[in-house]
């Protein structure tokens, strides 16, 4: 009965939203396309030889050449795989530690200062140690990425749990929710918006750390393409790899937003349209 009300509202809204839905993302392309066009024209007109900053057409050619040989896919997949693994481990650890330190004041006092100290260590500083500990293959890279993902997720979850409104928790107490029900029905939904932001921040760092990891002794991955391009003097390949990073990073971020949006429709946002 109640579901019918919602369904009835949908067909009305669609035609109006249709045009806007196509137009709005297009606005985001305006600036990069304009810049690319400007540079292409500048190089064609001979204002620059474009050797160190290759014009879009050259990058596109490099891109499609790499794609044609399957190299691009191979490197992109290798990188994607590392980020995915590191992300999963980092998120798991960050969520667990963040939830515990956010919930228990004692654990917070014992564990948080150490973690905060570890957080201030620059990512690259870990690399030699991780290579000694975990070898030069995948394990050390994935762990480095997981470390990068861990801290923003840890901080975000801890902050979110600590700032859950006491008044809302009291509603749970009035209805005599058990510990587990309190987590599932009150705490989890309450921290969800902050959690999604933490995940996005973590993923961003994951993409940063994968490059650091791949700079150091990798034979595959987009980071390897960067180093390879530098050593062999192929700026177009470097830019192509950078563009690939941008696309993958944006796409993965968008994926988080997309997956989480059904859980966050209740949010009273500052700008909803």
């Amino acid at each position: 009965m109640t579901a019918g009300v919602e369904q009835a509202g949908v067909p009305e809204a669609t035609p109006k939203a249709g045009a806007a839905r196509l137009l709005r993302p297009a606005l985001g392309f305006l600036l990069p396309v304009a810049l690319a066009l400007f540079w292409e024209i500048a190089v064609r007109m001979g204002l620059s030889n474009g050797r160190l900053v290759p014009p879009p057409s050259v990058i596109w050619n490099t891109f499609s050449d790499l794609a044609a040989t399957g190299e691009l896919q191979q490197h992109a997949l290798a990188t994607l795989w590392r980020v995915a693994c590191g992300f999963v481990f980092g998120v798991m650890a960050g969520t667990i530690f963040g939830a515990i330190t956010g919930y228990s004041a004692l654990t917070h006092r014992v564990v948080d200062p150490t973690l905060q100290a570890l957080r201030s260590i620059p990512s690259i500083a870990w690399v030699p140690l991780f290579i000694l500990w975990f070898g030069i293959f995948e394990a050390s890279k994935i762990i480095l990425i997981a470390v990068g993902v861990f801290f923003p997720v840890y901080l975000g979850v801890m902050g979110a749990v600590m700032s859950v409104d006491r008044k809302i928790v009291e509603v749970g107490r009035v209805f005599r929710l058990s510990g587990l029900a309190m987590v599932r029905r009150i705490l989890l939904p309450a921290v969800m918006p902050a959690y999604v932001i933490a995940l996005r921040a973590g993923l961003g760092l994951g993409w940063m750390f994968v490059v650091a990891a791949e700079f150091l002794g990798a034979s595959t991955g987009l980071g390897f393409l960067l180093i390879d391009g530098q050593q062999l003097g192929k700026p177009a390949q470097i830019v192509a790899a950078i563009v690939a990073f941008a696309i993958l990073g944006k796409a993965s971020d968008w994926l988080i937003v997309l997956v989480s949006s059904p859980f966050l429709r209740w949010e009273d946002r500052f700008a909803r349209t």
Binding site: T2, K167, E170, V171, V174, F175, W266, D268
Partner: protein
């Protein structure tokens, strides 16, 4: 029968918020507690709710000592405290998790109909007005059919018109199942519109100062002479309760009590 037996509350920092409150509320009775700010009226309500159990004495409902939230006791807070991630209907049904789905749906639909918000069932709490949200909160508290409903200044954040509207509405809802109502307010008119008995409290520490029976026939006319008569009695009792606090308190507390006297 809800009984408070010499209930006292001392906070860990040594502040004595309640001292020896003894009180019996008959089933279906509407007891309204009124008093200057800081007189412990909200603290008393929280001890009854089981959220903050008393440090001395005990709260007993039908022979059961209340030390934690109890299924027979519902509470409405000053703020609606709706869960923003649940639609209105799910908020109303929040306390019915253990009920079968059909029963839950029936009760929620009935309650929403009773508070006049059937058309808002699928709406998010952010889309409600203050008065609507508080109606949802009342429906949520009533839907498990508690024997005692506690109300902690539930209408104080609303405008005068909405407040009067919700007071009448609360009486309608009360007439359905006749739960015991214990309400805290700082609005004398509200107390007299609703109460069978008005309890005036006094601060430092919180004590029962005076009880005034209020047996006007319902619905009560806010303009009638009888209403005015009871109102004068309550106001006079309030005045006396504040004066005495001033007379016996030391200087720091005097200022607080004098400030508290300005609330109406």
């Amino acid at each position: 029968m809800l009984v408070l037996d010499r209930v006292g509350k001392t906070y860990p920092n040594g502040v004595r918020a309640l001292d020896g409150i003894s009180l019996a509320v008959a089933p279906g009775e509407i007891l309204v507690t009124i008093g200057g700010s800081g007189c412990g009226k909200s603290t008393m309500l929280r001890t009854v709710s089981g959220l903050d159990p008393p440090t001395q004495g005990r709260v007993v409902l039908d022979g059961t000592i209340i030390n934690a939230p109890h299924e027979k006791i519902g509470i409405v807070f000053q703020e609606p405290r709706l869960l923003p991630w649940l639609r209105v209907a799910d908020n109303v049904g929040f306390g019915l998790e253990e009920f079968p789905k059909t029963e839950r749906r029936l009760r929620v639909a009935g309650a929403l109909d009773r508070v006049g918000l059937t058309d808002k069932a699928r709406v998010w709490p952010r889309e409600l007005s203050g008065g609507q949200a508080q109606r949802v909160a009342i429906a949520r508290a009533l839907v498990p059919r508690p024997e005692v409903l506690l109300l902690d200044e539930p209408f104080s954040a609303l405008d005068a018109f909405t407040r009067a509207d919700l007071q009448d509405h609360l009486l309608d809802l009360w007439a359905d199942l006749k739960p015991t109502l214990v309400m805290v307010t700082h609005d004398v008119d509200e107390a007299i519109v609703l109460a069978d008995r008005v309890m005036v409290m006094r601060a430092h520490p919180g004590r029962v100062y005076e009880e005034i029976a209020c047996d006007l026939p319902r619905p009560r006319d806010r303009q009638s002479a009888a209403f005015d008569f009871v109102k004068r009695r309550v106001l006079a009792a309030l005045d006396r309760s504040l004066d005495r606090a001033v007379a016996t308190a030391d200087e720091g507390e005097t200022r607080a009590a004098a400030g508290g006297g300005l609330w109406w």
